[in-house]
Subunit: 270 residues, 3 copies
């Protein structure tokens, strides 16, 4: 992707979006209590079929019919950690994409340790987090807190080390989203500050990545397409919203009605 033509990328994003709308891939989410509803609604508006399930007894049946797996550590406890390990093992056996969202890694030792143990057991296809969450996965035992701020260059360096360490795609969300694989990099400037004023937009982005990975076998390209859709929908919704409440409703409406023209007009990548 050294020579990026935004129009070509927008068309490729739209092709994947149509594929999602046609195939309605089943995305299995083991996610946190706060965002289950908003994640399900975002996936439905995108065109996917979300399923939330965490009982160990049914993970095998779910993974057998799912096209991708989201593991999100936002509200952990022992029951859920065990389910995450088992689901990732089953997904690896079935070779479906695994997307990890290390929510709050760095803020507590439990979250950092859990994220690391999950990654070390099974390499995720994609890891998405903010810069401090991603950085914490390289610094075992040291907590950074939730408010750590990294420069764009530092973020890329951190992501690059994680890509190498675990052979996966890494997405760092922020004012500019950075997508990195072993041999490609894309920065996405779309989005809106209003996206940080409702809960779960990061979790939604992670679930979008899982959905695009379900229809596009190139995980790096799929991750970039997901983040472009997320950023553009957020940007359009923010331009129509009076605040975070109306923003959330409009986000689903814009996503549901997203056209290739919207993508072509708004895409802002490099």
């Amino acid at each position: 992707m050294q020579q990026i033509n935004p129009a070509d990328v927008a068309s490729a994003v739209y092709k994947d979006l149509l594929s999602i709308r046609n195939k309605a891939p089943l995305v299995h989410n083991i996610t946190n209590f706060v965002v289950m509803q908003s994640t399900a609604n975002a996936l439905l508006a995108l065109g996917a079929s979300p399923i939330m399930a965490h009982a160990e007894e049914e993970l095998s049946d779910i993974i057998n019919i799912a096209q991708s797996l989201v593991v999100n550590i936002g509200t952990l406890d022992t029951v859920w950690i065990n389910a995450m390990h088992k689901a990732m093992q089953l997904a690896a056996l079935r070779k479906i994409p695994i997307i990890l969202d290390p929510v709050g890694a760095g803020a507590t030792k439990l979250r950092t340790k859990t994220a690391l143990q999950l990654i070390q057991q099974v390499s995720p296809t994609v890891i998405r987090g903010n810069a401090s969450e991603i950085a914490s996965l390289l610094a075992v035992g040291s907590t950074k807190g939730v408010d750590s701020v990294f420069s764009s260059e530092q973020s890329v360096d951190v992501a690059a080390r994680l890509v190498t360490a675990y052979d996966c795609v890494v997405v760092i969300s922020g004012a500019t989203d950075i997508c990195l694989s072993a041999n490609a990099k894309l920065s996405i400037k779309n989005g809106s500050a209003l996206m940080t004023r409702i809960t779960g937009m990061g979790c939604t982005a992670t679930a979008f990545i899982a959905t695009f990975c379900a229809v596009n076998p190139d995980a790096f390209v799929a991750a970039t397409h997901a983040m472009i859709v997320n950023g553009i929908v957020g940007e359009i919704a923010a331009s129509k919203a009076n605040g975070p409440g109306s923003f959330q409703s409009i986000f689903y409406d814009v996503l549901y009605n997203l056209t290739e023209k919207d993508l072509l007009e708004k895409i802002d990548i490099e």
Copy 2:
């Protein structure tokens, strides 16, 4: 209900709706994590008093003050399965209506088995699901998957067998909702495809049935009234919405303001 007069039915629905708004029946929900908030909001907009509780230690106290019970298996685990069994036993002793939503039955063995064990222990007053969920309750051990499609005739046949097997009212949701008891049948054509693009509308319908059963002792009639309200509100909301996000907000507004005139104008049953 062989000679159905839609206007008479609409008036009867409205009478029950007024009764709900006046009495605010307490509806006890043991439901899934994804839809707890949207179910509570739907019941409040309808005029009911929802309570969500699953600790075994308090089930007896809750059931003693509740007018009906919803059991929804959307996000199972052992703690919750035990609570569902205990709550249904207590509700049966107190003779309050029990409404079962077998979410995902057929998709995993755990869900099919759990739904069957619950039904075999205590016959629910009403079971509501989509066609493949309902069908799975007749075919122990064989999983159908979540995408099975049944013709309208097949759905009625499946529902009829379940009605006979467990002496309960059965509601199959779909483009046309089918309500069936041992000696009555009603088809409801109201609704909108947009209802499938937000999570939990089926769970909401189940909770509506529980609410109407709390004010109308005829479970079949109560179930039809609930599904008519659900379908008409969805239809009106969809006509005003730009997509699934605005649809959800408008659904609650329309429900809260629903008039007899709305019911009379929109009702589409046979």
Copy 3:
């Protein structure tokens, strides 16, 4: 606060609001499944940084970086009760404000007993509930049910006894909100009946109190400021809403955009 000047109070409320918007205090919520998302969204719209976490292994890390703690007993079970006890002990050691919401106390023995055990172990900074919930904390062993109605005078008497018993600020929500400490009392008439038609507005008020306590060391004043913001935002949102669905979206928008002028124009206290 014997001589109350509403304009002075409105300005003091606004000063705290700006402080919240500037500092984005981290508020740790151990709350119920129904309202996790709406509480997080309300805190984000207010300007706070919400975190939801209940695993005992990470409570210490979370409390160490949090500026206040919310404990809400809306959907109890053993795992969560243990987490609540531990979190309150840790918060007391770190001397951060603890706000308790005894949801449903009085309706079940488990809830009444749990609320009392929590309070007797560690005195909360503020307790907020409706009149029957608050009253149940004085009447061990007798359940009042969820629909008990108290006169305004009875509510004040009940609150006064709780203030004395546990040396804390007590807020009783209702058509008029009553805030009481050992030496001060304020009644807040702002609000709207529509606030009772969506789930979790009481839980939101509790989380607002925790946020204001994070920036204002006077717990009584902080609690009154939180309830004034809650009431005024609800009142403005209700005036623009078509029903409970649009009310919820508009609530977040109004809160996010709340100005000193709004507070000055609407404040209705005595």
